[in-house]
């Protein structure tokens, strides 16, 4: 049903979307004045990046630690919370669910100003754990909503028959329900990872120790290092390192991403 002119038009549109990514990858290894890679092709820009301040290894480690903690916290909290909201009636249930969703309505900046003060009081200033806890909170509306509808979509008989067989609620959850809500968990985990890996304003406000910065912040700072002179080659290399895991993960889990979205939006 796509005739040639339509194919050319739509294909051109697709290329427009792919172009910046392809360009950044190519430019990061191509020769460029004012960067470490002035003559010939090679990985000079990546070497600049690797040697920047605490070293890219440290920043990658920071980002990985924050992302893994955020994913873990988000999965645990939303799995238990989704189970509670979907399968139990308890006083305050609807209020708690509504307040959790209300997190979406409040701007990041509005929360980050007091969180900056609050984390100081909790002794979590400048800590990756504090950062991960805050990022988890930002994930909760989507994650809780997603897990609630995932649990609600599980046939009631499944949980009931497990209970008749003598399973307590925790064993029912572990052995019967977790496998049934796995697609929801994958979607929630993927979203939490992407959000934590990519978030910029939260670490910008909460982290000031440069050895504890996650990668996006480090790349952005590196750009402003030398007064007036920006190393675009190293910036491009930084973008590639930042984008690569996200793109790979996205392509690998694309089906879950799209399906998770569709089921979520349809039932919402």
């Amino acid at each position: 049903m796509f005739r040639t002119p339509q194919k050319v038009f739509t294909g051109g549109l697709a290329l427009l979307f792919l172009f910046p990514l392809v360009w950044a990858s190519v430019a990061s290894v191509s020769p460029q004045a004012g960067s470490a890679q002035t003559g010939g092709w090679g990985f000079g820009n990546y070497r600049t990046l690797a040697a920047y301040q605490a070293g890219i290894g440290q920043y990658l480690l920071n980002s990985t630690a924050v992302s893994l903690m955020t994913v873990t916290f988000t999965l645990i909290v939303s799995l238990l919370g989704g189970y509670a909201f979907a399968q139990f009636r308890f006083p305050g249930r609807d209020l708690l669910f509504l307040v959790t969703l209300a997190i979406l309505m409040v701007p990041y900046a509005t929360l980050l100003i007091p969180l900056y003060v609050l984390l100081n009081q909790l002794g979590l200033q400048d800590s990756l754990l504090g950062l991960a806890l805050v990022l988890t909170m930002f994930q909760l509306p989507f994650a809780t909503f997603m897990m609630r509808i995932s649990f609600e979509a599980v046939p009631k008989d499944l949980a009931e028959s497990a209970q008749v067989d003598g399973c307590g609620s925790l064993r029912t959850l572990r052995h019967v329900l977790v496998p049934a809500v796995k697609p929801g968990l994958i979607t929630v985990g993927l979203f939490a990872f992407l959000a934590a890996w990519n978030d910029f304003i939260t670490p910008l406000v909460l982290i000031s120790d440069s050895a504890k910065m996650p990668l996006p912040l480090a790349v952005a700072n590196m750009r402003q290092q030398v007064m007036g002179i920006v190393d675009y080659g190293a910036t491009e290399a930084g973008v590639v390192v930042l984008a690569l895991p996200c793109v790979v993960l996205f392509l690998a889990l694309q089906r879950h991403y799209v399906r998770g979205f569709m089921s979520g939006a349809l039932k919402g």
């Binding site: 739509t10 549109l13 139990f88 209300a102 609050l118 990519n198 952005a220 984008a243 996205f250």
Partner: protein
């Protein structure tokens, strides 16, 4: 924290004929709370407390390093409203929000219509449109920063300054945002499109409706709730725009692309060191956002009737 041990215990003694009806009714409540406890703790510590705190900060003289120096209401709010860059920032944020929302949703709708049938070609198109959504906004902004800069831009031969004038900087940012988010909104609209049953289109075809008429009188009205969702998300996201401006234009040239959230950041950390004023502006933004969303709900629902 003691609550979290409850489900395990109730798991252990769940004998077939457990307890009186009264006990059974109370149990699910306790168990439910036990499972909801982590959510409740998170929401209480990292959401409800900060909201209360920001309210208190907004009416206090609260320095970044000096801390709380007592109430001073309504000084922070007056200071913010009288700040010379406040109204330009409000105006710019509104302009940027309208521009972004109209262009982004228009293009996303077109893209959703293009890829709505499943085939290998549309599969390729969908993936291409969606890949930028996997990137973080900060990564995308850094990418476009290099893409726009005269030293490294592949468009250098055009001799255009992408970030040099206020208008150019605004449009360059809109292009970045459209590139990053079009696929995401396409996906949301695609969900809506696929919820429309084939029978409706068949009926329209039998009634002799052309392509445009079908789109105008069948697709668009049935897509209303998806479009409403996209509009609310897009308006909210644009009103709170920060990363793209902080990294791409730094608010310049001449503070012409300074957004409200950047102003909050500047009050608090960048020179201002005044958390009280930042909190006051945060409260104003929260109020504006709530009003905007209520108006949108009303407007979009009103049309339905």
């Amino acid at each position: 924290m003691t609550l979290t041990t409850v489900p395990e215990r109730s798991g252990l003694d769940s004998r077939p004929a457990a307890g009186t009806p009264a006990r059974r009714r109370r149990r699910p409540g306790l168990t439910g709370w036990a499972y909801a406890a982590p959510t409740a703790l998170f929401v209480l510590i990292f959401f409800v407390t900060p909201i209360l705190l920001v309210g208190r900060m907004s009416v206090s003289d609260w320095g970044l390093f000096a801390g709380n120096r007592g109430l001073n209401a309504p000084e922070n709010f007056i200071d913010v409203a009288e700040y010379r860059l406040f109204w330009p920032a409000v105006w710019f944020t509104v302009k940027y929000t309208v521009l972004t929302t109209v262009i982004l949703l228009g293009l996303a709708l077109l893209m959703a219509l293009i890829v709505q049938e499943s085939s290998r070609w549309t599969g390729f198109l969908r993936t291409s449109f969606l890949v930028p959504s996997a990137l973080g906004l900060a990564s995308a902004s850094l990418l476009f920063y290099a893409l726009y800069s005269p030293q490294s831009s592949p468009f250098g031969f055009l001799g255009v300054s992408f970030l040099g004038t206020p208008t150019a900087a605004l449009w360059s940012t809109v292009v970045l945002i459209v590139w990053r988010f079009a696929g995401f909104y396409m996906l949301l609209l695609l969900v809506g499109l696929q919820g429309i049953s084939a029978d409706v289109y068949e009926a329209a075809r039998l009634d002799g409706a052309g392509r445009w008429q079908t789109f105008r009188y069948v697709t668009l009205p049935l897509l209303r709730s998806s479009i409403a969702l996209c509009t609310i998300l897009c308006v909210t996201g644009s009103m709170l725009g920060f990363d793209q401006f902080y990294l791409l234009t730094k608010g310049g040239p001449d503070n012409s692309t300074l957004t409200i959230v950047q102003l909050i950041y500047n009050f608090a950390f960048f020179g201002g060191n005044n958390l009280g004023r930042a909190a006051a502006l945060s409260i104003m933004v929260l109020a504006a956002l709530l009003i905007a969303n209520v108006l949108q709900f009303r407007g979009l629902r009103g049309k339905e009737g």
